[in-house]
């Protein structure tokens, strides 16, 4: 996703001379193409995320369209007040790009985990929050995000995420249909969509066909599609690489709870704990039931008895 992001941004910057790229001293070599074509519009601010965001805000104040890039944990938690006040409160079109959002840098330990990035960014008024699932979604969503008049958070993977196919178009603010289905629905956000697509294949072998959507846009939340889904199924599963609070599953829970009758909800996420021991991302996913097999097992259990699942439990 990183390279897809840089390639697309470099292309967009050719058409829009106001696009600027700021980095907090990260992205070794990946920005060389951008620098070659748009030299002065690239700024390495140093390991100084607070200043990166304030500087980006200043650029936006004078009509530029800055994109501020860092590893997701540094791009969000380290400079949260700058994002809140200088960008969101001001309503400026600054795009914050968090690489390895969620647990992309899993083996690097909790300093590099951003399991709260969606929660933090969704908490800010006016912030658009986007978590594409693969390189294709990155490219299509970046074009749309760069046209927004307000701020956005753009969570991308660390690299080498599997590419998947879906016929539905990628429209900012609209959940993307991955598979038509029945009885239960499964909704993902971010790069875990790749695991979901694999899980759906396992389900197919078991003659199960859950309805599946990729919510690449977490905010503004596509409540219309959720309402449509809720009318059609007995149970909904959400999947995200995030802490259990304040992220995508929490948004779904919020919307469903406002209705008098709704399907059973099961939220798959990382647990309310720091992920210690530096596991590889694949191992972490297995530990929390977020890998294709784990997701498939959850779906199979629900398929067998959708109403019996306790929404409070989980694999945590």
């Amino acid at each position: 996703m990183k390279l897809a992001f840089v390639d697309k941004l470099t292309e967009l910057a050719e058409a829009d001379p106001n696009i600027m790229l700021l980095t907090g001293d990260l992205g070794f070599q990946i920005f060389d193409g951008f620098i070659e074509k748009h030299g002065p519009r690239y700024i390495n601010v140093g390991v100084a995320e607070a200043n990166m965001i304030d500087t980006a805000a200043g650029l936006a104040h004078v009509g530029r369209r800055p994109v501020a890039y860092s590893i997701a944990s540094f791009a969000t938690t380290r400079c949260f007040e700058q994002i809140k006040l200088s960008v969101a409160y001001a309503g400026l079109p600054v795009v914050i790009v968090g690489a390895g959002g969620g647990y992309g840098y899993c083996e690097n330990g909790p300093t590099h985990h951003a399991g709260e990035d969606l929660a933090l960014m969704c908490s800010l008024p006016g912030m658009t929050v986007v978590a594409p699932g693969d390189a294709g979604e990155v490219q299509q969503l970046l074009s749309q995000v760069m046209k927004l008049s307000g701020p956005a958070y753009f969570r991308i993977g660390r690299g080498r995420e599997p590419v998947y196919h879906a016929d539905a178009p990628v429209v900012l603010g609209k959940a993307r249909l991955l598979q038509q289905g029945e009885r239960i629905a499964v909704l993902s956000t971010g790069e875990i969509a790749g695991q979901l697509v694999e899980a759906l294949k396992i389900c197919r072998d078991q003659d199960m066909s859950p309805l599946a959507y990729q919510y690449h846009t977490v905010k503004p939340f596509d409540a219309e599609t959720l309402a449509h889904i809720a009318e059609r199924v007995d149970a909904i599963v959400t999947i995200e690489e995030h802490v259990p609070f304040g992220g995508f599953g929490a948004q779904v829970a919020c919307h469903l709870s406002a209705q008098s009758h709704h399907p059973v909800l099961k939220r798959l996420s990382v647990a309310d704990e720091f992920v210690l021991g530096g596991p590889h991302k694949d191992q972490m996913r297995r530990d929390y039931g977020l890998d294709a097999q784990g997701i498939a097992e959850t779906l199979m259990a629900l398929w067998a008895a959708p109403a019996a699942v306790n929404t409070a439990e989980g694999r945590q």
Binding site: M20, P40, R41, I43, V45, G46, A48, A50, N51, I53, D54, T55, A56, A57, G58, L59, A60, H61, V62, G63, R64, P66, E81, Q82, L85, S86, Y89, A90
Partner: protein, 291 residues
């Protein structure tokens, strides 16, 4: 009230500006009393700096307030905004009547400066440590268009506790931002302590110099000294400039001077009367007949 619109440096009437500063101070005291809002000591300390900037440095007038190439003023110590509001009125950027509605809900002159309420502001402020980075971003963007615009940022000494100030100081020096001016209102008192105690009795001038800035220290309540120093901008070619303005918190009102109490205290009716008598001036929005 004489609303001057000529920002040229020549022939500045220092004595006249000192008299104007007394009216600005009277306005700050009146606003704090009427609005029941504190931070008066912080406003009084920086009045001379803000007034000198608008009369002797900033190339912006009410007519050019939307001009892309105007100079920008970032009031980073937002809590002291009564000084800014009063000077904006004195310079004709705002109608005088607005002073009568300070800190009233949905009115332009809010408790802390809000750009949504007052579009004239370059940015909102109130949380410390943001202004220098925002100004640096503005100048970088303007520089790509080869704009001659400059930016001045007013910081408090307590604000210099914030690490983000030094991130921005490093960045501005690395980018050789000669068009950037930082003024530190060094009034020596923070919300609950003496800034020297909290900063280890070290020199702000030397800190800025070590970060690659041109820097000097002056008496920030001496109108002539401020104007003279502003004329020397940039202090060093190819570098951003920092003027450390040694001031007195509560300057101009003896019973408020250098008292940490007046960071938060709202003046009573009696305090207001005493302060106005000592200043020998009325607030800009108070008619002489009210006396």
């Amino acid at each position: 009230m004489n609303i001057a619109k000529d920002n040229s440096l020549g022939g500045t009437d220092v004595a006249g500006l000192e008299a104007t500063a007394r009216r600005i101070r009277a306005t700050c005291v009146q606003l704090a009393h009427d609005g029941k809002v504190g931070h008066l000591g912080s406003a009084l300390s920086c009045v001379d700096i803000v007034l000198a900037l608008y009369h002797g440095w900033l190339r912006v007038t009410p007519e050019t307030a939307d001009d892309y190439h105007r100079d920008r003023f970032i009031f980073s110590k937002g809590h002291a905004c009564t000084a800014l509001y009063a000077v904006l009125v004195e310079r004709g950027f705002l109608p005088v009547e607005q002073l009568g509605r300070y800190a009233v809900r949905d009115e332009p002159l809010s408790d802390h400066p809000c750009q949504h309420a007052l579009g004239l502001l370059e940015c909102s402020s109130g949380s410390l440590g943001h202004g220098l980075g925002i100004a640096a971003g503005m100048l970088y963007g303007l520089g790509l268009d080869r704009s001659p615009a400059r930016a001045a940022v007013l910081l408090s000494d307590g604000e210099c506790n914030e690490g983000s100030v030094w991130e921005s100081a490093m960045f501005a020096a690395a980018q050789k931002m000669e068009n950037l001016l930082a003024l530190v209102d060094y009034n020596g008192l923070q919300a609950v302590g003496r800034s020297d105690d909290l900063m280890g009795h070290t020199s702000l001038e030397e800190k800025f110099q070590a970060f690659g800035w041109g820097a000097c220290t002056i008496d920030g309540n001496d109108m002539g000294a401020i104007l003279k120093t502003l004329k020397q901008f940039p202090l060093q070619p190819g570098r951003p400039s920092a003027i450390i303005c040694k001031t007195r918190k509560g300057a101009g009102v003896s019973f408020m001077e250098d008292k940490v109490l007046w960071h938060y205290r709202v003046p009573s009716c009696e305090d207001l009367g005493s302060a106005l008598a000592e200043l020998g001036a009325k607030a800009l929005h108070m008619q002489e007949s009210d006396q």
